[in-house]
Subunit: 700 residues, 2 copies
């Protein structure tokens, strides 16, 4: 199919060695090379290959087989690697800010290698750099230059010990002193210490610090951000008045130095206020280009979404790595069989297929979705920077905010559950650290928490949907949005009258069937949530209580179902578009149908409860279609993994290598562990110091 890309020394698609995985590869219904090109395009594939090859060729990035790094050593190594990334300059600064697809590919590359590295690099360049670029003004752009020459090292300091999700309750203060034209940054007590700040632990010299702005009259103008120097770049020693430290070991991402800081009346120049949304004159007068706080808030939504959409992409990459490992393992691990003599690959078992293949489909569907949302977000950002203050732009911002707020939970939870399933599906070998499933789980885990706790974030999405419905109810506004994700809701009374019509599983083998069911489901949950909310209010709850009491089984389910529908819808359209090569249609259609049905099947109870399903057949038809799709996809599974798995060096899992030599790779890696065959240094404690049984027996 893609002959021009083969044969040359820098071939994009080197052939895999013929080995234990060959049998499955030979049975695949499609060419993995063709699918790779279709999904990613040649430019992106070449870019990724360049990055991966550079890392693999550089000893600084060598995998630390058998050496277990101490926290200190891992942080040092991660810093050195981060510095080296500047030397490689895979992307120009311009590309980083202007080419979303390249940024996305670059994030995947660094993250698939090690999320600690990606986090360190992007927190410095993007979280710190973008905060200045988006919230500051020209007087701050010198910081951005210094970011890319690494004269300074940055971090983003919002969360405090006692407040994370409730950002309004942040307690660090910034009092303006007109006498010296300085702000005084102060932490009233340790509960207000900045906490969890990536790069702050050991490296950062400068922080974007969020603090409550007070002017001389004593009036508080709310949360603003300031550039605060926290360490001397010459010595990395803390600046006077700054107590800054490292939070120590986390469950994962331990190459990244998360830290804390307390400020004791630290004075910074007036110009260090990032002043795009509000400024203070030398004499202490507050100025804002925004008429009201709501508008100011709206303008800030876009930058909140960047983090969340990026996290979706991170979670998807983790899921891709995990299913790659587990499926290659499953295709080569043999256990039991129809006869004593013949054992079959565990991938041949219905149960193993059902455990893993839906996550493979999810990895495809969510990857496409996160990429498309990333592009939508880039469009939103262009509008913001271009000064677009139209109503459509505002609506666009709200829609993206709603999608990012539920997309992050959906992607991070799917990855969390998928990685756990992959770990278990690889049995004991999945529990061996070298096989990487533990690292993936641990590195993915904070995706559920940072940039907004998943459960709290989902409320943003349900609030958005309920708000649209209320506007329609009250003012007759049409239910619609710039990306059209909510437009179908305009017909919700009609949709609620629909019923499931599939009578055999064959009817369900296309994603159109679950798509229709999802539309009904979202309409149903929206109506139910709306009624429940109004009922709570009528029975005397205030707004705060009413919303809290509608979360479980209502608003939370609504937000997730809406998000799943949106992912299903986009992947359905993508896989059914005319531009899909005929040879790829069957496999892409099956992935789309499997993801849709499998996601939908978690809502079967509600589909019955609300009357969309009735009788025993409806549920069984869906189950039967899921199992059929699994068995149809199992021979394609290895080829589908070949499309999404990075090179072995990056995947870094002996049981997941592309040659499929499961046991040889595993055994080889075990023997590389440090001191594997040596007796313990403490051997004499066994040989020469025998316990006297009961010599310390306590009285009971």
């Amino acid at each position: 199919m893609v002959p021009t890309l083969e044969g040359s020394p820098d071939a994009l698609f080197p052939d895999f060695p013929k080995g234990p995985l060959h049998a499955y590869r030979a049975r695949a219904s499609f060419s993995w090379k063709e699918l790779s090109l279709f999904l990613e395009g040649e430019d992106t594939l070449r870019f990724k290959k360049t990055v991966f090859s550079a890392l693999e060729s550089d000893p600084l990035f060598a995998r630390s087989h058998g050496t277990h790094l101490s926290l200190e050593k891992y942080r040092e190594l991660n810093f050195l690697r981060c510095r080296r990334i500047f030397e490689y300059e895979f992307l120009s600064v311009e590309d980083m800010f202007r080419s979303p697809l390249k940024m996305l590919a670059f994030t995947h590359c660094l993250g698939m290698y090690d999320w600690s590295l990606a986090a360190k690099y992007f927190l410095h360049t993007m979280a710190f750099g973008s905060a200045i670029y988006n919230s500051g003004s020209e007087r701050h752009f010198e910081y951005i230059q210094k970011v890319f020459s690494m004269e300074i090292f940055g971090c983003f300091a919002l969360t405090e010990v006692s407040h994370g999700s409730n950002t309004k309750a942040i307690r660090t203060t910034a009092h303006y002193d007109p006498a010296t034209e300085e702000f005084i940054i102060h932490s009233p007590d340790f509960e207000a210490a900045k906490f969890w700040v990536g790069n702050m632990g050991k490296t950062a010299t400068h922080a974007v610090v969020f603090a409550q702005l007070y002017l001389p009259g004593g009036q508080c103008h709310g949360l603003h951000s300031f550039v605060v120097q926290i360490r001397d770049p010459k010595t990395l020693l803390p600046m006077p008045g700054v107590m800054v430290g490292d939070m120590g070991k986390k469950l994962g991402q331990n190459g990244l130095d998360n830290g804390f800081a307390m400020f004791h009346q630290v004075r910074i120049p007036r110009q260090n206020l990032l002043n795009r949304a509000g400024d203070v004159t030398p004499d202490g007068t507050y100025l804002s280009p925004f008429q009201d706080a709501r508008q100011r808030f709206g303008a800030s939504l876009g930058s909140l979404s960047v983090g969340r959409v990026s996290i979706m992409c991170m979670a998807v990459a983790n899921l891709q790595l995990a299913v790659s490992i587990a499926l290659r393992f499953s295709a080569t691990r043999r256990q039991f069989g129809p006869t004593q003599e013949e054992e079959i690959p565990v991938l041949e078992y219905q149960l193993q297929q059902w455990r893993l293949l839906p996550y493979l489909a999810a990895a495809y569907a969510l990857h496409y979705f996160s990429k498309s949302l990333f592009l939508d977000l880039a469009e939103l950002q262009r509008g913001l920077l271009g000064g677009d203050r139209s109503a459509r732009q505002a609506e666009f911002g709200h829609e993206i905010h709603a999608l990012a707020s539920a997309g992050k939970p959906l992607a991070s939870w799917t990855a969390q559950q998928g990685i756990q399933e992959c770990r278990e599906a690889c049995g004991g070998h999945g529990y061996l650290a070298m096989n990487r499933l533990g690292v993936l789980r641990d590195d993915n885990d904070p995706n559920c928490t940072y940039e907004g706790d998943n459960n709290v974030l989902l409320q943003q999405t349900s609030n958005y949907l309920l708000g649209l419905l209320a506007r329609r109810d009250q003012g007759g506004a049409r239910l619609q949005s710039p990306l059209k994700t909510v437009d179908f809701l305009e017909a919700y009374p009609d949709i609620l009258g629909q019923r499931f019509t599939g009578s055999s599983f064959a009817d369900c083998l296309d994603s159109a069937v679950p798509l229709a069911a999802y539309k009904w489901l979202v309409c149903y949950l929206l109506r139910e949530s709306y009624q429940k909310l109004n009922q709570e209010k009528r029975s005397g709850s205030n707004d705060f209580e009413a919303r809290n009491n509608c979360q479980v089984y209502y608003c939370r389910s609504l937000a997730l179902a809406f998000m799943e529908l949106t992912v299903v819808q986009r992947f359905h359209e993508y896989t059914h578009q005319p531009g899909v090569p005929p040879s790829l249609r069957p496999v892409l259609g099956r992935l789309s149908a499997l993801y849709a049905l499998w996601s939908l099947s978690r809502h079967t109870a509600v589909l019955y409860q609300g009357g969309y399903f009735s009788g025993p057949q409806a549920g069984k038809v869906v189950e039967s279609a899921i199992l059929t799709l699994c068995s149809q996809l199992k021979d394609d599974a290895v080829a589908l993994v070949d499309v999404i798995a990075p090179p072995d060096f990056v995947l870094d899992s002996p049981i997941g290598r592309a040659d499929g030599e499961l046991y040889k790779n595993l055994w080889g890696a075990v023997l590389q562990e440090s001191s594997v065959l040596e007796r313990g240094s403490w051997w004499a404690e066994f040989s020469h110091n025998k316990p006297v049984l009961g010599s310390l027996k306590p009285k009971l």
Copy 2:
């Protein structure tokens, strides 16, 4: 309530300091001291207190705040602690083998402190010791003496690199040589290397090795176990012909040295065959006390169950620790509130209650169940050792086997999911290693895999139930079992005719309602699975295929539902028995109802599909009852945690301490981390070696 236990210097129940948790404690509906006594009894409470106090007073057991142990150091420390346990002799050897409740309490104590320690100690004493005691004969009992004087150190070697679940396919061989009266133990290749063996990595001198027994004629007599010396106790160097090593880092339990071994024609005396189930005479004749293989297999089921029931208890202890941490955190962490000024504890939110309280109820229900099953198992073991070969004893063995085979999956998965929920419910602070939720997750994880993969094990239970039904179908045998867990199935045609009758949530506030629903559910899934299996067979599948194709949605669900029913049933009976003090009835009743309804609610789809539920109300009634029970239990949650949480030293989580001083404890612990305020040793790499942007830029 229990005045005699207070006030004395060794008071069982020291009062908690008045602090941030006091408000919830004051609102509890019951006395936590009374509930502790009711559940555990004074003897067990005193025993646990003795063990915990001894560990807390001994510097060898000091928590390693801020010191991150290397693998080597952790293994050394764990060995030294294990040796010290012998010096304490908290339990006599006699008690360990004869007093199941004490053994259970002891396992909890060591495990709650550190599972690596518990595993090291019990693999040596119980897995190795019991294997010899149960499978060997008097000639082997000298090994047991040497276990308890620590002259030797033991391990249990069954699993190989390429085979775990399929034990029949184990490939290590033991050829008998009558010329020297020796067995020759041999690993044909590295895929047959023993793998994952706990204690083998660095410590064990002797292993119980499972191998295929071959006699001179060449006939294979199947899997047998042998005592093989693998290291010299004087030097801890390997014995000739034994290649033994350490597997390296695992996801958790890294104090335990899991290892591998390959045997190169290693000769051991004939007497080292553990010969209870089969022996070889000096001239090479095979002798067995069992008439047939099935009987021999039946006799071995009991010892398989010991491991699985013990794992249930381990998982429950992990869940207890996790919910203790998360609920104390939730009662003291404040975030948002009805007004800007007042923030409320996150435990007050419906969503947080619904995320955590069902796991608290599960911890209670599963704890009771695992304890009761442990006692049943002890009765079974007494029968076995007493030589009971009655039909009832055989049936008893099968029933315990079925319960242990589904109980381990249920408990380990509930703990896995519960710990993850607790981690997320504590937000970022849950992601900090010192707060211990990560360790609990990692240490609990292998409970899903070892002693039989959860999904594979569930098939044992569904096979048991399907077998009973087939026997009834074919021969008219009554559906019944010694523990009566299956007796209700005798009425299954009647039960299948029942329908859900609850019309308001108030009807569901007692566990009798979900209990009835569960009985219907199990009958339904049994009938469906049976029909599906027969249909598969009729359509030409062989037995192997037919069973494989019935797992998803059928047999797997059946086994889990049956297990949940059994847990619900026992906890219902326990909490409704006349002996429950009136003051404890309400809270125990709520725990029982919440666990039952919450578990049941995961099957709502099937309840609708099969017609037990119909109309929108059925599902809503259950949801409403769950939320009502959560809100009724939230003021009891802290006191319920006080009952199950070990002392702070053992719980070892700054955010979970009994004083509730969340932030002070956290801040104090952070400052104890090593080098927390120091700059990194590699600071000059930042200050003096600046990258040249793009100096290594690759050609794209």
